[in-house]
């Protein structure tokens, strides 16, 4: 729950300005991007996600490093991805 998981924005959902479709290790889900303060999030941007919300933008290298860290975490990461798969934010 406390893990920040990196994802790549695929599409900003047009009718819901705060939501974006985000690819998180191959799982695509709607994520709320309303808390990002720096310039407008765009497709191709990497974000750090906590419980369905992006808290910050990161660069691609940082995203890769974080994913690598998470894979090492094992069960907690597996649980978080499992939860994300069940998620249906709208």
């Amino acid at each position: 729950m406390c893990l920040g998981i990196p994802g790549e924005i695929v599409e900003i959902l047009p009718d819901q300005p705060d939501l974006a479709k985000v690819d998180v290790s191959g799982v695509r889900r709607a994520i709320n991007i309303g808390l990002i303060t720096d310039d407008e999030p765009r497709p191709g941007d990497w974000i750090l996600i906590h419980v369905g919300f992006a808290l910050s933008k990161i660069d691609e290298a940082e995203a890769k490093a974080t994913l690598d860290f998470l894979e090492g975490v094992g069960q907690a990461y597996a649980d978080e991805m499992e939860a994300l798969r069940e998620s249906g934010i709208e």
Binding site: M1, L3, L35, V51, G52, L55, S56, D59, D79, S87
Partner: protein, 375 residues
């Protein structure tokens, strides 16, 4: 993956370890607390303590939100969940947390409608789909998750959703650090500051630690080299007689934090006069409750809750572990009566808890050490 290697590189780790050793005064003991459970995880997993001189000790802090939820609050949540008209929702981490009368899992087995969600927004969706039920979201976590709860309440209000509420257990990191600094049992020389909480609160709130307590704090990333580098920065400050807040994790943490996230928290929640932390007791202004303006979304006002205090089991030494006074394996029930499958204390429940981290990785390190010394 070049970047990853950069943060993992064994040569750089060795060089840093050597630099750390050079900075240490051999006649002095150094104790640094890593506040965040994520750091505890990295430290055990990579056996970082083995890279440090013997007079440098890392102690684990209270930065595991599941670990600090007191028994009484779990019981209150179960009390709400067992009502026929309620659907209780919570993060998976909470399901096994023991209260005075069992856990969510036990209560679910007895028929309570308790559902795991990934996000508070998933709980909101359940509320939309079940207009005849009262859907409660059990909110836990530090400032990393509080903005999500805040945004969800704002959304519920905008939609005029009348059957959604939050059982708010958000805690704040600064009063916990202050309580540890004021605790007589522990003398610390500095802090490895939490990475993700700081993306929200920024680095400024830590300044009193450097100014008033004279202890350095370095906000750190989660890779092994990040942590070694942060220890190096802490020792450099001590060697030069400085105490400042430094940001080693600037690639993710802005100095000012996330103002929008802070704004939504302040809009919907306010500090409680005091809140009980498991093992640590009552700490003033250390948690958040829902503001009057959002009373309609506050489970504590909607439902009658017992609100009692339940003492921790006698065998449990989580308080000492959370304050860094005891190492996990020094707890009498560690690994015997208390394991991740049958947790007695909360530090064994969440993978961010020090006991679970040590249970999962520490043995491996110990075995490895035994193996290495055999030849």
């Amino acid at each position: 993956m070049r970047f990853v290697d950069e943060y993992r590189d064994a040569d750089r780790a060795r060089a840093l370890a050597a630099a750390i050793a050079r900075l240490c005064d051999p006649g002095r003991e150094y104790k640094f607390m890593e506040v965040c459970g994520g750091h505890t995880h990295t430290i055990y997993k990579h056996g970082l303590a083995d890279h440090l001189p013997e007079n440098v000790t890392l102690v684990h802090g209270p930065g595991c939100p599941v670990c600090v939820i007191p028994m009484g609050r779990v019981d209150d949540a179960i009390h709400i969940a067992e009502r026929d008209d309620v659907i209780m929702t919570s993060f998976g981490d909470m399901m096994r947390v023991p209260g005075g009368r069992g856990s969510f899992f036990d209560s679910k087995a007895h028929g309570a409608d308790i559902r795991m969600v990934y996000s508070p927004l998933d709980a909101l969706k359940i509320a939309r789909q079940n207009p005849d039920k009262k859907v409660v979201f059990l909110a836990i976590g530090f400032e990393t998750t509080a903005p999500s709860t805040a945004m969800t309440m704002l959304r519920a209000k905008a939609e005029g959703l009348g059957n959604f509420s939050v059982f708010c257990n958000h805690v704040t990191i600064i009063p916990a650090i202050k309580a540890i600094l004021d605790s007589p049992d522990l003398r610390l020389d500095g802090f490895i500051g939490p990475g993700h909480v700081s993306t929200v609160i920024g680095c400024r709130p830590y300044e009193f630690i450097a100014r008033e307590y004279g202890k350095p704090l370095v906000v750190a990333g989660f890779e092994p080299l990040d942590i070694l580098r942060s220890i190096h920065l802490l020792l450099t400050q001590l060697a030069e007689g400085r105490s400042e807040v430094e940001n080693q994790y600037g690639r993710v943490v802005p100095w000012e934090g996330n103002p929008r996230a802070l704004r939504v928290i302040a809009e919907t929640m306010e500090p409680r006069p005091y809140f009980e932390w498991r093992g640590l007791g009552f700490i003033s202004h250390s948690a958040l409750r829902v503001r009057d303006a959002y009373a309609g979304f506050d489970a504590e006002r909607i439902f009658d809750i017992p609100g009692g205090r339940v003492a921790d089991p006698k065998a449990c030494q989580c308080g000492e572990v959370l304050k860094g006074v005891l190492k996990p394996w020094e707890c009498k029930v560690f690994g015997t009566a208390c394991t991740p499958e049958t947790p007695i204390g909360t530090c064994m429940v969440s993978s961010e808890g020090a006991c679970a981290a040590y249970y999962n990785f520490g043995r491996f390190t110990r075995d490895r050490v035994r193996e290495a010394t055999r030849d």
